[in-house]
Amino acid sequence: MQFFLEVLIGGLLAGVMYSLVALGFVLIYKASGVFNFAQGAMVFFAALTFVGLQEKFGLPFGVTLALSLAAMVVLGVLTERIVLRPLVNQPQITLFMATIGLTFFIEGLAQLIWGTEVRRLDLGIQDEPIEALMERFNILVSRFDVAAALVAGVLVAVLAVFFNKTRIGRALRAVADDHQAAMAVGIPLKQIWAIVWSVAGFVALVAGLLWGARNGVQFALTFVALKALPVLILGGFESILGAIVGGLIIGASEKLAEVYLGPMIGGGIEGWFAYIMALLFLLVRPEGLFGEKHIDRV
């Protein structure tokens, strides 16, 4: 039982890390209907910019964070200006293809500016077991994972307030509900897109810092997007809550599957098991757990 709990808790906490990446996808999809394939590249760009600035100028953490955020805002605004604005009213698949192109551009740009070397990122939280839990219950829970879960919780709370209580947030929701109607009442679609890409850049920065502190800042950070996809399918592309719940379900189920089913079928199954889970959910709820149900007239 103790081992089962360890796997379950570890899986839930890993799921929170996936949710952090999934949140960035959700924000952009909510506001523009664009599935941003470049979110993984943005995570990489954000983390690399942070450690690059830290290494080059040796500035305090807060200043480096602010400068990295500024870089992500610039990236978001430029993406809206150069990539999305010329494609307004084009089919969704065109916008999706544009974000694929954007992925390769951002990956290349990040490596061009900061180089390809692997860098260490120290956030001051060691990835070690919490001693009190080990001593009392012999259950292994990582201090770093708990801290990451707290950060994710705060981030979701901030986003919830932003979306529900601020004027910009309400405008974002209006745009998400209906582009045409939002524009008709005077909401500037282009500015809203720039804002939402900047907020997604901020989420990418948080995800990049946490993943980078865990694995080192390197190109492999772009692969964390692959962990977010089943979370999105399961939780729904438009729901922040869905990203969190989806992450928890995917994280826990893939870890349990790897530990208990894996050894029977050769192991190494968690990479694709998450997608099987998501596909099974698709059969029952195509819009995901918290996604909006679309009914189209024919």
Binding site: F3, E6, V7, G10, G11, A14, M17, E107, G108, Q111, T116, E117, V118, R119, R120, D122, Q126, D127, E128, P129, M134, L140, S142, F144, W211, R214, N215, G216, V217, Q218, F219, A220, L221, T222, F223, V224, K227, E254, K255, E258, V259, G262, P263, G266, G267, G268, I269, E270, G271, W272
Partner: protein, 439 residues
């Protein structure tokens, strides 16, 4: 057409004509063209930048210091594979046509790319140098005349690691538990058969746990390890998998000085990324790290300071940079060997094959070249395309690698038998009649 448009068209036409008339690399007098399938971007870009940085720095050293190999200047072209098999094949196809003499020899620097081009190489008569990677049974040159897993192969590494662990356990592994944590790919599966055989022979319990690519999340694998309570973990990682394994080992309380990586899981790019979690970790190595070798000083003085052609000063002396330097040295020595037979002029790729197969870089030659003990002596033959089989161990001390053993061999008799059996099976499947090609 306006005047400016006419000028532009004329310039473009002239440039196109110039390109068409430009001599291919081979036709340039007295140069030896080397095709390089490298990678400096993508998931393994950091590893590739160090290896190919060292490789090119050595080629520059030979040109700048010695005026080439017996007066034949070296030229090269690097093609970016991003460690991707399809791009690797594309690069190979491009590079083999860049010179009428061939690309001299190709270092694929990827087990996947090696497998993808292995059957093309004999047709094109291009030797492949797979230094410490690739298909292990290709060490039998009677079946694989065009492939050279120089120095040591994966089975040398696996049995060397087992011997290293046995030495730490007072020579007795009976009843001990060892986990192989491996990258779930062709690369990660290479040591399975030899470790199974070692487990049976030495009486230890072996459990193999795969990590799906890219290996940036290993919680469940390490919880299984925590439950199994092994005495040692052998880490067969690459790229982000190694740093993540070290971090997750710390998270689950597994001691790092009970972990031994292979030589692709033991570079600064792995340990620096893992931070303090890497301290105490052992790794096998084909070569030693550090700048304390005359050849490294020559590179710094001649290539970096005098000629200002260095690749990246930060990488000089790192594990993978030194490995790239050694790979280039063996390549250059093979060219030199081939020139002894075919004349002091540019050689063809076919002649290079003979040069590699008759390569003999002994301790005296290593000293003369300034490598001293950085790499072991290598003597290649038709039967043994590796030429060494030696491995050495290093331990990460928090900021640098410290030597943890002398050069040593694993179970070379068992490895040789398994290589011959596997190569014979391959020969039977492909209808190859084993034999030596000669010159």
């Amino acid at each position: 057409m306006t005047k400016s448009w006419k000028s532009a068209v004329l310039v473009a036409a002239a440039a196109a004509a110039g390109l068409a008339a430009a001599p291919p690399a081979s036709a340039q007098q007295n140069t030896q063209f080397i095709g390089i399938t490298g990678y400096r971007v993508g998931p393994y870009g950091a590893n590739g930048a160090a290896f190919f940085g060292g490789f090119i720095d050595y080629l520059n050293l030979v040109n700048e210091r010695d005026g080439g190999v017996n007066g034949v200047k070296l030229t090269w072209e690097e093609c970016e594979t991003e460690y991707n098999n399809a791009k690797g094949v594309e690069c190979y196809e491009r590079l083999k046509t860049r010179s009428a003499l061939g690309p001299t020899a190709i270092h694929p620097m990827s087990t996947g790319i090696t497998y993808a081009i292995m059957e093309k190489a004999p047709v094109d008569k291009v030797p492949l140098i797979t230094l410490g990677y690739g298909r292990t049974d290709a060490t039998d040159g009677r079946v694989f005349p065009w492939v050279f897993p120089l120095m040591s192969n994966y089975w040398d590494a696996a049995t060397g690691i087992v011997r290293f662990i046995a030495d730490k356990e007072a020579g007795n592994l009976k009843g001990k538990k060892i986990v192989l944590l491996y990258h779930d790919s062709a690369y990660g599966k290479e040591p399975h058969s030899v470790l199974d055989a070692e487990a049976k022979k030495l009486g230890f319990e072996l459990r193999m746990i795969p990590v799906p690519h890219p290996g940036n999340e290993q919680q469940s694998q390490w919880l299984q390890i925590r439950q199994y309570k092994p005495d040692w973990v052998i880490l067969w990682g690459w790229g982000v998998m190694t740093a993540t394994a070290l971090q997750t080992a710390q998270k689950t309380g597994f001691p790092r000085d009970k972990m031994v990586g292979n030589w692709w899981a033991g570079a600064e790019v792995d340990t620096v990324a893992a931070g303090p979690a890497a301290t105490g970790y052992y790794a096998a190595s084909l070569n030693l790290a550090g700048k304390g070798y005359p050849v490294v000083k020559d590179v710094e003085d001649v290539v970096y300071k005098k000629a200002n052609k260095g690749q990246d000063a930060k990488l000089v002396g790192t594990v993978l940079w030194n490995r790239g330097l050694a790979a280039a040295m063996y390549t250059v020595e093979a060219i030199r060997r081939a020139q002894e037979k075919y004349g002091k002029k540019p050689i063809t790729s076919e002649q290079m094959r003979w040069g590699i197969e008759n390569l003999d870089v002994n301790a005296g030659r290593l000293k003369a070249l300034g490598f001293n003990t950085m790499v072991p002596p290598v003597k290649v033959s038709c039967e043994d395309h590796g030429g060494s089989g030696l491995v050495r161990f290093q331990q990460w001390a928090g900021s640098e690698w410290k030597i943890a053993s002398d050069w040593m061999k694993g179970d070379s008799a068992m490895v040789r038998k398994m290589i011959e059996d596997s190569a014979a099976k391959y020969a039977a499947e492909k209808g190859i009649k084993p034999g030596c090609m000669g010159g």
